[in-house]
C-alpha cells in the first residue's frame, strides 16, 4: 500500500510538473499565476499521500497551509496586477 | 544515494544558481529574488545536516531545524528591508537601478547579502 501511495504521489507530481511547464510558457502572467493554483491542489494531494505513506499526520497541516496560501497569493497577484482592488471588480458587469 | 544526500546536492546547486543570479542580474528586484534562492539552497544544506543527525527517535536533529526556522524569518526581514529601500530609491530618483551611471544609488539591494 505504501508504495502504491508513493507511486500515486509521483504520478501527481509528474502531472503538476507537466502542467507547470505549460503554464510557465504561457503568454501572460495570468497563465503563470495558474501555477500557484496548480500547486495548491496538486501539492496538497501529494502532501496528503505523503502524510499517509510515511505516517506523519502533521504533514496534513502543511497541505492546509498550502491551500490557504494559494488563495493568498492569488489575491495579492490580482490586486497588484490590476493596480487597485476596484479595478479588479470592473469586469464583473461585462457579462 | 539516500534522500538526505540528494537534497543536499539540490541545495548546493540552488545556492550556486542563486549566487549566479545575484551577480549577473542587474535589476535590483531580481537580485533580491536570487538572494532568496541562495537562502533556500543554504537552508536545504542545513536541513541535510539535521536529517543526518537523526537520533533519539527523531526524524532529524531539532537544533538545526529550529535554526533554519529562525533563518527563514531573518531572511524575510532582510528581504522586506531591501524591498523598502528599493522602493524608496525609486521614489527619490525615479529610477530603480544600481548602475552608478544612471543614478547614484550606491548599494541598495546589496544590504541583504
Amino acid at each position: 500500500m505504501v508504495s502504491f501511495l508513493l507511486a500515486a504521489a509521483i504520478f501527481i507530481l509528474a502531472m503538476v510538473a507537466l502542467g507547470l511547464f505549460r503554464v510557465f510558457c504561457g503568454p501572460t502572467d495570468v497563465d503563470r499565476m495558474m501555477a500557484v493554483q496548480l500547486l495548491g491542489t496538486g501539492g496538497s494531494a501529494v502532501l496528503l499521500l505523503l502524510a499517509v505513506a510515511v505516517e506523519i499526520p502533521a504533514i496534513v497541516d502543511v497541505a492546509l497551509m498550502l491551500a490557504l496560501l494559494a488563495a493568498f497569493a492569488a489575491v495579492t497577484f490580482v490586486t497588484s496586477a490590476s493596480g487597485s482592488p476596484a479595478a479588479a471588480e470592473d469586469a464583473t458587469d461585462s457579462r | 544515494m539516500n534522500a538526505a544526500t540528494l537534497f543536499g546536492i539540490c541545495g548546493a546547486a540552488l545556492a550556486g544558481l542563486g549566487l549566479f543570479g545575484l551577480i549577473t542580474n542587474s535589476e535590483p528586484l531580481r537580485k533580491i529574488l536570487a538572494f532568496n534562492l541562495l537562502g533556500t539552497g543554504t537552508f536545504l544544506i542545513f536541513g541535510v545536516v539535521a536529517r543526518r543527525g537523526a537520533a533519539a527517535g527523531l526524524g532529524g536533529d531539532p537544533v538545526p531545524q529550529a535554526l533554519v526556522i529562525t533563518g527563514i524569518v531573518v531572511a524575510f526581514s532582510a528581504t522586506a528591508m531591501a524591498v523598502v529601500l528599493l522602493l524608496r530609491l525609486f521614489e527619490e530618483s525615479g529610477k530603480a537601478t544600481l548602475d552608478p551611471n544612471e543614478a547614484d544609488g550606491a548599494s541598495t539591494a546589496e544590504d541583504d547579502s
Binding site: 495570468v30 496528503l48 490557504l68 492569488a74 489575491v75 | -
Partner: protein, 97 residues
C-alpha cells in the same frame, strides 16, 4: 474488511490520479487562458477530492479524517474564488477573451 478498504483506497486514489491527468491534458491542449483555467481547477479539485476520499480509511478517526476533509473543502473554497478573481483579471485585460 481490510482488503475491501484497501481496494477502495486503490480505486479512489487511482481515480484521483486520473483526474489530475485529465487536468494536465486540458492545460496542455486547450487554446486560451480561460479554458485552461477551467480545465485546471475543475479536474484537479475532483482529483484531490477522490484522493482525499481514498485516504480516509487509512487515517485516524475521527479527527484525522476531519482534517483531511477540511483540507479538501479549503482548497475547494479558496480555489473557486481565487480562480474567479484570476478569470476576471483576464477578462478585464482582454475583453475579447
Amino acid at each position: 474488511m481490510r482488503l475491501a478498504l484497501d481496494i477502495f483506497t486503490a480505486l479512489a486514489v487511482a481515480g484521483g490520479a486520473f483526474f489530475f491527468l485529465a487536468g494536465t491534458v486540458g492545460l496542455l491542449r486547450f487554446p486560451d487562458t480561460l479554458t485552461r483555467l477551467h480545465a485546471l481547477t475543475k479536474a484537479d479539485n475532483l482529483g484531490l477530492g477522490l484522493v482525499t476520499l481514498g485516504l480516509l480509511p487509512l487515517v485516524a478517526w475521527p479527527l484525522g479524517a476531519l482534517k483531511l476533509i477540511s483540507v479538501w473543502l479549503f482548497v475547494q473554497l479558496s480555489g473557486a474564488i481565487a480562480t474567479q478573481l484570476i478569470a476576471r483579471l483576464v477578462r478585464r485585460e482582454d475583453p475579447q477573451a
